[in-house]
Each structure stands twice: as structure tokens, then as C-alpha cells.
């Protein structure tokens, strides 16, 4: 008997489609289908082996064209919460094998403006020129005021992650580096304290995962990667209200540390703590967010994240390598969901031991995350090669 129902679920397939600034000849559907073909090839499964689909707006079309109905489905744009829903559906016997997929191409065409997913219209922010960089900057500036966190510390995060992407042959910004913190600081300012190279880029692409039962995973070709824990913290809708660090209800649990409680639940499910984590596939929409997450998840004390990430700790060969494919800053950032799934895909790749670049030797536990405090949410998953 598993100690937690998630432990009976394994991720057995992962795939990225082509990723590029612009994918000529593709739309969101065709690139998503490319990722689905690749993930089926990764597992050796056929559409008839899939009895659940969680692919946002593509869930219906995929089930229709794969003719794998009747199938369980989830129509929300998939990221960690939807992977956890899929795992829950498997663990509760609603289905046994779920395809999770998403893709984006041809969405961001009007380049004089920031990407459409960065600026949802809302009456309380729309007239003040807000978009994601400004929302996340308001979080970072507050932390810098409280704790003296420096632009150099932010730039160290950005340089580390961008160098991971520089090395990765499939990254959109492969070969663009290497970067020093000074290079980050020399790039033009977007929203103080974020320089251009402190920010996620925009690109196009798709990705897919397949989850199944522990039992079925034993017969498949890939080393199973188990879900050790996972949970989600939300403080409200993204980009519609002031993104205040201290936003909190009577519990006192504050938006600044969103993800802390999801991490605590996840660690408890997996009978783990921060020191058990071998690789940190943290979501990197902006450089400061890595610092925030190390504090939120209990890797270091509040206010110490800026010092914590220095001295090579988060780089290759460090104690806690972060975002090892280059993340949203360098690997890809296909819109609202794709790049969130890609954090989990990279975590699986690390635990399989098949990373072509930045492989963490003998990685056993990966921590993956989505979101950030400018968005008022953070989702966490812990993956492992073994379960407790």
C-alpha cells in the first residue's frame, strides 16, 4: 500500500516539440499534435492505450482524432494543478493512462506590445500599463526594500539559468551566451529592477507527458518517475489586483511566500525535506522568483535568498542546480501553459538521467514549480525515482 495515493502514479512519457521564437507553418493545434506524436513514440504506447486527456482546448480534438473515447478529460490549460488532477484521476480509478499536452504558436504576432498572455484586461490595472514584468517587479522591489536583496543577486540567477539554456542544443536561445551577471545588468531596463535579461522571453512550442499507474509503468520502456507529492497555493486571480507581498487573510499566510504551504504539503507526502532535493526545476518568469522560492520552500531563511543563491550553489555542480534546461528565460516560453509543463518534463528528464546537458549526477529527487508571487500563485511537485 502506497503511503500516499500519488505514489501509485508514474510519469512514463515526456516530449517537447520543436521550440522557436516563431514556428513557421504551425498553429497551436499542429504543434501540440507534434508533441503528442513524440510522447507516444517516447513510451511505445498507441492512442488506444490512452484513456484520459488533459490538454486544455486540445483535449476534445485529441480524443476525437485519436478515437480513444470514451476518455476522461480535463479542459483547463494544463500545468502542475492539472497534472495533479490527472494523477488523482488515475489514483481514484477514473482512468489508467492520461495524456497531458499543450502547445502555442501564432498567438503573439503584434510585437510592439507585450505578449497577450502578460496583460489580461482588468478594470483596476488596465489603465496603468501593467503586464507581467511590472507585476513581478512590485514583488521584487518590496523584497529588496525589506531585505536589501541586490540587482547583482538577481542577475546571478538570470546568468545561471541563461547559461543552462546556452548549453542546451534544443533551447530557443542555445548558443546565445555565455552570460555573466554584468551582462544581465548591462541589458536595457524593462521594469525596474528587471533588465531585459532578467525576464522570460517569448517563443512558440508544445510539450506532452503521459502518466499511468505504477503497475503499468513496470511494462514500459522508460525508467518510471513517481509523483512523491504535489500541491497548489493561490491567493487570487493573476494580474487583476495589486500584487502585494503582504496580501493575506486572517491566517497571516502571505502572498510573498505563496508556494510555501504547497511545498510543506508536498514534502510531507513524500516524507522529504529541502535537503533531499537534488535538482530544483523552479519556474523562472523573472530572476527574483528563484530567490523567493528558496525562501518560500524552506531552503533558507526569510530574507536570506539573495545570499543563498550566490557562490555557485544554484549552478552546474552546485548544491541546488536550478532550471537546468534554461527555463522560460532561454529554453522556451510558449505562452500561458506550455512552459509550466516543461518544468515537470525537465524534472523527469533529470531523474531518468537522460539530460544531454546539465545532467545532475545520480539525481533521485526533483522539485518542480509553476507560477510566482506577481501572479498570486505557486504550484509545487516533487518527483522521485523511488517512493517512500
Amino acid at each position: 500500500m502506497a503511503k500516499h495515493p500519488f505514489h501509485d502514479v508514474a510519469i512514463v512519457g515526456i516530449a517537447n516539440s520543436e521550440q522557436a521564437r516563431v514556428l513557421e507553418g504551425h498553429d497551436s493545434t499542429t504543434i501540440t499534435f507534434q508533441a503528442v506524436h513524440r510522447v507516444l513514440a517516447d513510451t511505445g504506447l498507441t492512442p488506444q492505450d490512452i484513456d484520459g486527456v488533459a490538454a486544455g482546448p486540445f483535449s476534445g480534438p485529441l480524443t476525437y482524432y485519436m478515437r480513444n473515447g470514451p476518455a476522461w478529460r480535463n479542459h483547463m490549460a494544463p500545468s502542475i494543478p492539472i497534472i495533479l488532477d490527472a494523477a488523482s484521476a488515475i489514483a481514484t480509478g477514473q482512468c489508467h493512462t492520461v495524456l497531458v499536452a499543450h502547445g502555442s504558436a501564432g498567438i503573439y504576432t503584434e510585437r510592439a506590445s507585450t505578449a497577450p498572455w502578460t496583460r489580461p484586461a482588468n478594470e483596476f490595472v488596465v489603465a496603468y500599463g501593467m503586464f507581467t514584468a511590472a507585476e513581478f517587479a512590485l514583488i521584487a522591489q518590496r523584497h529588496m526594500h525589506m531585505h536589501g536583496t541586490t540587482p547583482e543577486q538577481l542577475a546571478t540567477v538570470a546568468a545561471t539559468i541563461r547559461n543552462n539554456g546556452h548549453a542546451h542544443p534544443d533551447a530557443v536561445y542555445h548558443g546565445r551566451g555565455p552570460f555573466t551577471p554584468d551582462d544581465i545588468l548591462a541589458s536595457r531596463m524593462v521594469a525596474d529592477p528587471f533588465h531585459l535579461l532578467d525576464c522570460a522571453m517569448t517563443s512558440e512550442g508544445a510539450c506532452a507527458l503521459i502518466l499511468t499507474t505504477r503497475e503499468r509503468a513496470q511494462d514500459l520502456p522508460n525508467k518510471p518517475v513517481y509523483i512523491l507529492g504535489g500541491a497548489c497555493d493561490s491567493f487570487g486571480p493573476s494580474y487583476q489586483h495589486p500584487p502585494a507581498w503582504d496580501l493575506a487573510g486572517p491566517s497571516g499566510r502571505n502572498n510573498g511566500y505563496t508556494g510555501r504551504w504547497a511545498a510543506q504539503k508536498s514534502f510531507a507526502m513524500g516524507e522529504l525535506g529541502p535537503t533531499d532535493v537534488d535538482v530544483c526545476e523552479f519556474y523562472d518568469p523573472f530572476s527574483f522568483e528563484i530567490i523567493r522560492q528558496f525562501e518560500a520552500y524552506g531552503f533558507c531563511e526569510e530574507g536570506e535568498g539573495g545570499d543563498f543563491i550566490m557562490d555557485g550553489r544554484i549552478g552546474p555542480g552546485g548544491q541546488y542546480p536550478v532550471t537546468t534546461d534554461g527555463g522560460t528565460m532561454s529554453f522556451s516560453h510558449g505562452g500561458a501553459a506550455v512552459q509550466q509543463l516543461q518544468r515537470v518534463i525537465r524534472g523527469v528528464e533529470q531523474l531518468r538521467g537522460t539530460c544531454v546537458t546539465s545532467q545532475v549526477p545520480d539525481a533521485q529527487v526533483a522539485m518542480c514549480s509553476n507560477g510566482g508571487a506577481g501572479a498570486l500563485f505557486t504550484d509545487v511537485m516533487l518527483l522521485g525515482t523511488e517512493t517512500p
Binding site: A112, F124, Y128, G129, M130, A137, H145, A191, W245
Partner: protein, 140 residues
């Protein structure tokens, strides 16, 4: 002396009020920063909402803020959200003296002078027949 921050010009995307936020925008047109106070628990709710954010009561009444407060966090934006916006502009979250947060832009202030704790007050700029926006400016 750095550039003095100005309000945006007509042509920026403007708020579309809802049934429950209309009194807030009506207040802006007459130079009042209005907020809701719960008649059951006394807590302030802001942004305008259909229920109290402390006790979820629907028994809310509008009051008028002094418009005075201090900068809680800020960011100077150099890459505009859309070409309709003129840079630089500074987004601020202000803690009003009544205790609620408001997100807006700060104007009538040198671009490099904005800092956490800076004392500010509301000032209103008409952008259309329907919408007057609250901004903040330094307290003299």
C-alpha cells in the same frame, strides 16, 4: 534633475466598470477616492468587490478616502505594455492611510525620486467622458 512623470494621454485602454465597481468610478469623476467598508465587521474592502474580503458579508457601504498614503512598492516601466503608453511610467502600490492598497501610477514627480515609504496623495485625470483615473503624486 530627471524627467517629471506625466499622466498618460487618451488612447490607453480604459477600465470597463461593473455593477459593483461603478460607484468607485463615479467617485473618481467628482474627485473622490471611494472605498467600501463592511457594516458587519468594519473591515475595508479594496479593490471594489461584491463581498467583504474579511468576513464575506454583502453588507458594504461606500466611504471617501483622504487620498493620503505612502508608497508600498514601485516599478519604473521602460518597455510599454502597448504603444498606447508613453514611457517611462511608474506603477506603485500605495498603502492609503485608511489601510487599504491601491495600484496606480505616480505623476508630477521626478522619475528617479520614487521610493518605498514616500508620502503621496491622489490626483485625478479625466481620460474620457466616462472614465477619470486616480493617480498619485508626492505630498508637498
Amino acid at each position: 534633475m530627471s524627467e517629471i512623470l506625466q499622466p498618460q494621454s487618451p488612447g490607453i485602454p480604459l477600465p470597463v466598470p461593473t455593477i459593483y465597481s461603478q460607484p468607485y468610478w463615479d467617485g473618481c469623476q467628482v474627485g473622490e477616492l471611494r472605498f467600501q467598508r463592511c457594516q458587519d465587521c468594519g473591515a475595508i474592502t479594496m479593490d471594489p468587490a461584491p463581498a467583504c474580503s474579511a468576513c464575506f458579508s454583502e453588507n458594504l457601504e461606500w466611504e471617501v478616502s483622504t487620498g493620503l498614503g505612502e508608497v508600498y512598492s514601485w516599478t519604473t516601466v521602460w518597455r510599454p505594455q502597448t504603444p498606447a503608453f508613453t514611457v517611462p511610467y511608474v506603477a506603485v502600490i500605495v498603502t492609503l492611510d485608511e489601510g487599504f492598497w491601491l495600484l496606480a501610477n505616480i505623476i508630477n514627480c521626478p522619475v528617479d525620486a520614487v521610493h518605498v515609504g514616500m508620502r503621496v496623495q491622489t490626483t485625478f485625470v479625466e481620460l474620457s467622458d466616462e472614465i477619470t483615473l486616480p493617480y498619485f503624486e508626492p505630498v508637498d
